[in-house]
């Protein structure tokens, strides 16, 4: 699915989180929204998911206006910064949640749900943790479960908010590779938010550098490194 963001702006009370920004995301791309905290990158991601609504502007999915669509209708797989796993449910139930939440006639049978959940747990290389609770997993395992849960709904795109933010350096590197592989197998349009320029440059096809609610530059990692469009981009990516 390709996504177009047209002149999206967002105001919170008195402040402006996003000045009108526009961006095209090609189908199947892996995009990084890169910027310091307060740059509006998470707000933009949440607007794509339908968790926030823009003050003005439009979002188009495959050329169709999706601005008014509810979160549920958008079917965007979302991985939250601290994963937001359901702490009172087993890992199996966490991953199965999106399938069970479907309308009755679209809901898979119990056997089918079991098959799909197990396949996803294999995809994230944690096949044997179905019976455990989130509180019993390490940070890296939780992150992968959150990814599996988001993938279970057969999403039209994948959105990740600081997916590696709470992890130590070694696990980060592993999981980056894991995300790349999952992106390449599923072919899903994927947008992730990060403040870590290494992560953005290494993982993304296209990097969107943001600052103070504006998009400073959009480009391939090599191009941004070679030809930064502004002083901000130069100083932020040089770090």
């Amino acid at each position: 699915m390709f996504v177009e963001i047209e002149e999206i702006a967002k105001e919170f009370g008195t402040g402006r989180a996003l000045h009108p920004v526009s961006l095209s995301i090609p189908s199947g791309a892996l995009i990084a929204l890169l910027g310091p905290s307060g740059s509006g990158k998470t707000t933009l991601l949440r607007i794509l998911a339908g968790l926030e609504f823009p003050t003005s502007g439009r979002v188009l999915f495959d050329g169709r206006d999706a601005t008014g669509l509810s979160v549920q209708e958008r079917r965007a797989g979302f991985v939250f910064q601290h994963y937001a796993l359901f702490r009172h449910m087993t890992i199996f139930e966490n991953v199965a949640y999106g399938l069970r939440a479907r309308k009755r006639r679209e809901r898979p049978t119990e056997a089918e749900i079991g098959r799909r959940v197990n396949r996803l747990l294999e995809l994230i290389q944690l096949p044997d943790i179905g019976a455990r609770y989130p509180g019993q997993l390490s940070g890296g395992q939780r992150q992968r479960v959150a990814l599996a849960r988001a993938l279970a709904i057969e999403p039209r795109m994948l959105l990740l908010d600081e997916p590696f933010g709470a992890l130590d350096a070694r696990v980060r590197k592993e999981l980056r590779q894991g995300l790349r592989e999952i992106h390449d197998t599923t072919g899903l349009t994927t947008v992730f938010v990060t403040h870590d320029q290494d992560e953005a440059m290494e993982l993304a096809d296209l990097v969107v550098v943001m600052s103070m609610g504006r998009i400073e530059q959009v480009g391939r990692p090599a191009d941004i490194r070679a030809r930064p469009a502004s002083d901000f981009v130069r100083s932020f990516t040089a770090a």
């Binding site: 937001a84 796993l85 359901f86 999106g98 939440a101 019993q136």
Partner: protein, 288 residues
């Protein structure tokens, strides 16, 4: 050298010396025994002073039975209502930002800061025969004051904060993330409430409901003002106990008091049982 140093300090650094621990624990146990346990035992002893038969007779008199029935009915109506109101209030306060939120929180606390007697008087002023509204209601054959509805309203007012007060801090701490996650997974409002919100707050809710229930059955001040003390009709257990006591029927009074205390103890026991039964699950889900 350093090894021997380590060997001489086997206890964790946060532990107090043995003597201090014994004194602290001893003080607490003595206080609990003297201030909580002894008075309760005195009530049961007084109730049984003339034997089980006399005590049983006191409990089975028509007036006492009517009082017990009324108290249980009031609790059975008030507790579910306040559980629903409490969840709704806590949900609104912790999940949405709106004008006047601070005022709403103050309002929820109002029954804690206002004396129950004042609350009862307010109801009499509002719905009594001397008020415009009260006169209109009486004309239409709707009695509020000195009748069941008044007792219900008074109890509702006094017990309103318990559930909301238990839920608000828990829901604040848990935040919106899990509910947002459920939204992105396609769940609707009711499904999210029953599968995500409610399971996460169930212990706080249970605790709030138990406190609310204990207070609903035990409320005296506000109910005393609006009840009118019509024997067998508008006397709840606490009111009946006071009336019996004033009439020097101490065995009957203390028997009823013991029954009221037992009701409270049973709810506490239930809570402990549930906690014990689900201890493993509790430990897992809190450590997140």
């Amino acid at each position: 050298m350093s090894d021997t140093n380590l060997m001489t300090r086997p206890t964790p650094v946060t532990t107090e010396p043995r003597l201090a621990r014994h004194i602290l624990i001893g003080t607490v146990v003595t206080l609990i025994a003297a201030l909580l346990f002894a008075p309760l035992m005195a009530v049961f002893a007084e109730a049984l002073r003339q034997g089980w038969a006399a005590s049983f007779e006191g409990l089975t008199s028509p007036d006492a039975r009517a009082a017990m029935r009324l108290t249980l009915i009031v609790a059975a109506v008030v507790v579910p209502l306040n559980a629903v109101f409490g969840i709704a209030a806590a949900w609104a306060i912790t999940r949405f930002d709106f004008r006047g939120k601070a005022f709403l929180i103050t309002l929820i606390d109002l029954p804690f800061s206002v004396s129950p007697v004042v609350a009862g008087l307010a109801l009499v002023l509002l719905f009594g025969a001397n008020s415009w509204l009260g006169a209109w209601l009486i004309d239409h054959d709707l009695r509020i004051v000195f009748a069941f509805p008044g007792i219900l309203l008074a109890t509702l007012f006094v017990t309103f904060p318990f559930v909301a007060r238990e839920l608000i801090p828990v829901m604040m701490e848990q935040g919106r993330a899990e509910e947002e996650a459920a939204l992105t997974l396609g769940a609707g409002g009711w499904r999210i409430f029953f599968t995500v919100t409610l399971p996460n707050i169930r212990w706080a809710l249970l605790y709030g409901v138990l406190l609310c229930n204990a207070r609903a059955m035990g409320e005296f001040g506000a109910v005393a003002v609006v009840s009118g003390k019509i024997r067998g009709e508008t006397t709840t257990m606490p009111i009946m106990i006071e009336m019996l006591y004033n009439e020097y029927l101490s065995v009957a009074a203390f028997s009823l008091a013991a029954a009221l205390a037992l009701l409270a103890l049973v709810t506490l026991l239930l809570k402990s049982l549930l906690e014990w039964r689900y201890a493993d699950l509790l430990a897992i889900t809190r450590r997140h």
